[in-house]
């Protein structure tokens, strides 16, 4: 109590922190490691990227831990809360634009690049019999089968949408002060996310082994995997965030007036949901 009174009206300014500089060091190691790895220098790349990866984990737990401890000490008032809300909102906006640019790539390849190539004199075609169809065949006409929308992808849509419902329901329970129910809801969301990811992995495995749909399957394969792959990555990030929220629910960190951490993750999870809906429509279905 005394702390929030003392800060009365003062915006909370965190003390100097080692984490930002450590995080950028970690990303430097990961970047250098990545650039070396793709050029075949696997051993030094492994050491660099391994060190970078460990440092990322250390920094994230320390940094997020600091924020949680400050929140527990009650240093965040209404004004700080508004900053966090705006911050998360703009962050999700930037993510939306990132995915929009990837969808832009899909539409460009599908509706402009492929018809343009097909309209050329057949002498310039990438391979014999190249046609303005989607899915294209692979480079040099190698055959692959695209995934059916109304199999696993449709099931996954159902799973992810249900997880959106459980997380929203959990948030409602928190605002009513029903902590136990909220904890169960977050647990259910994590479970649904896990099932979704497992099914996606199985799909990727089948695509490579049975459908012969790979990264190298022309622009169809490239756009298919970059969109679904980045979505999967974001689901994974969302799962990590949900796990933190689950732990905090168990510890009883959230109350009717103090649950923005929970709310922010639920925003993020809904964003991941909506991206999947777009994927289902434009990548799998149409």
């Amino acid at each position: 109590m005394s702390i929030s009174q003392a800060h009365g009206g003062h915006y909370y300014l965190p003390k100097p922190s080692p984490y930002p500089a450590l995080m950028s060091t970690a990303l430097l190691l990961l970047g250098a490691g990545g650039a070396l790895a793709v050029n075949g220098y696997v051993l030094p790349a492994g050491w660099l990227a391994g060190a970078g990866g460990l440092l990322v984990v250390y920094v994230l737990s320390g940094w997020v831990g600091d924020v949680i401890r400050e929140n527990r000490r009650g240093v965040y008032g209404e004004k700080e809360g508004v900053s966090f809300r705006w911050g998360m909102g703009w962050f999700i906006a930037s993510e939306v634009i990132f995915f929009s640019s990837l969808f832009g790539v899909l539409f460009y390849e599908r509706n402009i690049a492929v018809p343009w190539l097909a309209s050329l004199n057949s002498h310039y075609s990438p391979w014999a019999g190249f046609k303005a169809v989607w899915p294209t065949s692979g480079p040099a006409g190698a055959a692959f089968t695209p995934e059916h929308a109304w199999g696993i992808p449709a099931l996954n849509t159902l799973i992810l949408l249900s997880s959106g419902v459980t997380v929203t329901w959990g948030l409602q329970q928190i605002t009513k002060g029903h902590r136990r129910a909220a904890t169960w809801a977050v647990g259910a969301t994590i479970l649904l996310g896990g099932v979704f990811l497992a099914l996606q992995c199985r799909e990727f495995y089948l695509a490579y082994t049975e459908l012969h749909l790979t990264l190298g399957s022309g622009v169809y394969g490239a756009t298919f995997f970059i969109l679904t792959g980045f979505h999967g990555l974001h689901v994974t990030i969302g799962m990590i965030m949900l796990s933190v929220i689950f732990g905090r629910c168990l510890k009883g960190h959230f109350g009717p007036d103090n649950h923005f951490g929970f709310e922010a993750v639920s925003w993020y999870w809904h964003f991941v949901d909506v991206v999947w809906l777009m994927l289902f429509i434009f990548v799998y279905w149409l």
């Binding site: 003392a6 915006y11 930002p20 703009w90 906006a93 690049a113 480079p139």
Partner: protein
């Protein structure tokens, strides 16, 4: 209560030495870090520019081979845009915006420090391949030009991969910094600092931050796709798999054209403060400028393909991009009218910041007008691959942002240090910069009209005299910046006269109500406006 007092004391006494800068959460420290890093990179990019002009001084390969030349022009471009101009501009916003709007700091201070510390790793990744070459890894850094066009960038050496990761770090840095700026302006304005009262500089950065968030993801996505095309067998940019190299060019310029405005807007914002101070008149056309910024922001994201007139787009597309590009000159023209209106019949004095501000208007004016020539799809067929383009965008980017950064540096140096710089040295710096700059780049317009191709390390003998002139001008321009560095140095060590809080007698704004230099923490209790 006692614990609280200790907290408060700790906040006043920041750590000393290197940890102060590494761990800082203070917007003034972070602003200074950004500015210092930016100027350091100006020196790096400037040395590369001097090497380019040394090679081009005479026909024939004199100083280096074409491979190294290609690498140097690529790194020169990337460093100047991303590591020099953007950081200095971000440093100004960090240092100034909380003081201008009466906020205690940036809204998310740790994130702020992270945004800065992502920049040195990006710069390291860009130049690291030169070091690795000594150890037998790769063949130097990227050599594709800063635009990294596919398919050349798909085939280029390992330096390209380091550049891709550098671009991703820059993307992260800019995005987080932009979020922080927007949140600060949205949430931390002092009571009474309403949207129609915030200084023009703050408005310019609100637009810049929105632009960064909207356009940088396209380049990040394209960079990831380039990495996949290079090493993981995808065909995004390869017609062999049904893809299209032009997709890279589209995505690059969807980012790259607004990037010009990202560099330009903040200095256009600070410019009007300087003009108003030294004309001793209020800003003319506040609303007109704010709406012009918004119009520039919106139009700039729909004009990118004017960089692609010669790439074989359909004629209808060329015509659309021609007219939308020309439409930008309307809000930019309004800005010019407001700048003239601000100094019109003012009691002007010509201290160094004012000289640079007026230089900005003249040089950027030339840059803008030659841009209108290039925006003509038919005329561009002639100029596109020629030096005319080089001259145009150096008039735009040095004439605008760099002159603006120098004007702002002289304008705020007394505020930051509490000392006045040396006015005589400042005037020498300005006039040598103006002469050096014009001698460097005006001949390039003529060379371009004559058809000298850009991006090539050698040229036909008939272009020799003008290239000699251009190189001599470049060396004058480079040497003139040493005067600036010396002037800043002697101010930092306390050689000048003490500055007052207001510094300039016409200066307006909350930052000038504070002492010079301002205390470590300012406006912890919001002022009332």
């Amino acid at each position: 209560m006692s614990t609280v007092d200790i907290d408060a004391m700790e906040e006043q006494h920041h750590p000393r030495g290197i940890t102060r800068w590494l761990y800082t959460t203070n917007h003034k420290d972070i602003g200074i870090l950004y500015i210092a890093f930016g100027f350091l990179m100006f020196i790096v990019g400037g040395i590369l520019a001097m090497l380019i002009r040394a090679e081009l001084m005479e026909p024939g390969m004199k100083v280096m081979g074409p491979e190294l030349y290609n690498q140097i022009i690529s790194v020169h471009g990337l460093v100047m845009v991303f590591a020099a101009l953007m950081p200095v501009s971000a440093g100004m916003v960090n240092y100034l915006i909380p003081m201008m709007i009466g906020a205690p700091d940036m809204a998310l201070p740790r994130l702020n420090n992270f945004s800065f510390w992502l920049l040195p790793p990006a710069a390291i990744l860009l130049v690291l391949p030169w070091l690795l070459e000594f150890f037998g890894i790769g063949n130097g850094t990227l050599d594709t030009g800063w635009t990294m066009y596919a398919p050349l960038s798909v085939q280029s050496g390992p330096g390209m991969d380091f550049a891709i990761f550098a671009v991703l770090l820059l993307f992260l840095s800019s995005t987080l910094a932009s979020i922080n700026i927007l949140v600060t302006v949205l949430n931390l304005r002092a009571p009474g600092m309403t949207w129609d009262k915030i200084p023009i500089f703050v408005w310019s950065w609100v637009n810049t931050a929105v632009l960064l968030i909207v356009v940088f993801p396209a380049l990040a996505g394209a960079a990831i796709m380039l990495l996949l095309d290079r090493h993981f067998g995808t065909h995004f940019f390869s017609a062999a798999g049904g893809g299209d190299p032009l997709l890279w060019v589209h995505m690059f310029w969807f980012f790259g054209h607004p990037e010009v405005y990202i560099l330009l807007l903040p200095t256009a914002g600070i410019l009007v403060h300087i003009l108003s101070t030294f004309a001793r008149k209020p800003v003319y056309g506040y609303k007109a400028q704010v709406y012009s910024f918004a119009a520039i922001t919106m139009i700039s994201v729909i004009v990118w393909a004017h960089h692609m007139y010669t790439s074989g787009l359909p004629t209808a597309a060329n015509i659309y991009f021609m007219f939308s590009t020309m439409a930008i000159s309307i809000p930019v023209g309004i800005l010019f009218i407001c700048w003239f209106g601000t100094i019109w019949k003012g009691s002007m004095t010509f201290e160094t910041p004012m000289l640079f501000a007026l230089g900005y208007i003249v040089l950027f004016g030339i840059g803008g007008l030659t841009g209108l020539i290039l925006s003509d799809a038919a005329a561009d067929q002639q100029y596109h691959g020629a030096y005319f383009v080089i001259a145009h965008f150096h008039y735009t980017l040095i004439g605008g942002p760099v002159m603006g950064v120098l004007a702002a540096s002289y304008y705020y140096l007394p505020k930051l240090t509490g000392r006045m710089y040396d006015e005589t040295l400042g005037k020498w710096h300005f006039w040598l910069t103006m002469i050096g700059f014009n001698v460097t780049f005006f001949p390039q317009f003529l060379l371009g009209i004559d058809g000298m191709p850009r991006r090539i390390a050698d040229y036909a003998v008939k272009f020799a005299p003008l290239n000699m002139a251009s190189s001599i001008g470049a060396f004058v321009l480079g040497a003139a910046q040493l005067i600036f560095l010396y002037n800043v140095y002697r101010t930092l060590v306390g050689a000048g006269k003490p500055a007052t809080g207001r510094v300039w007698d016409g200066a307006q704004g909350l930052e000038f109500t504070l002492p010079s230099p301002p205390p470590y923490h300012t406006f912890e209790v919001p002022p009332t406006v």
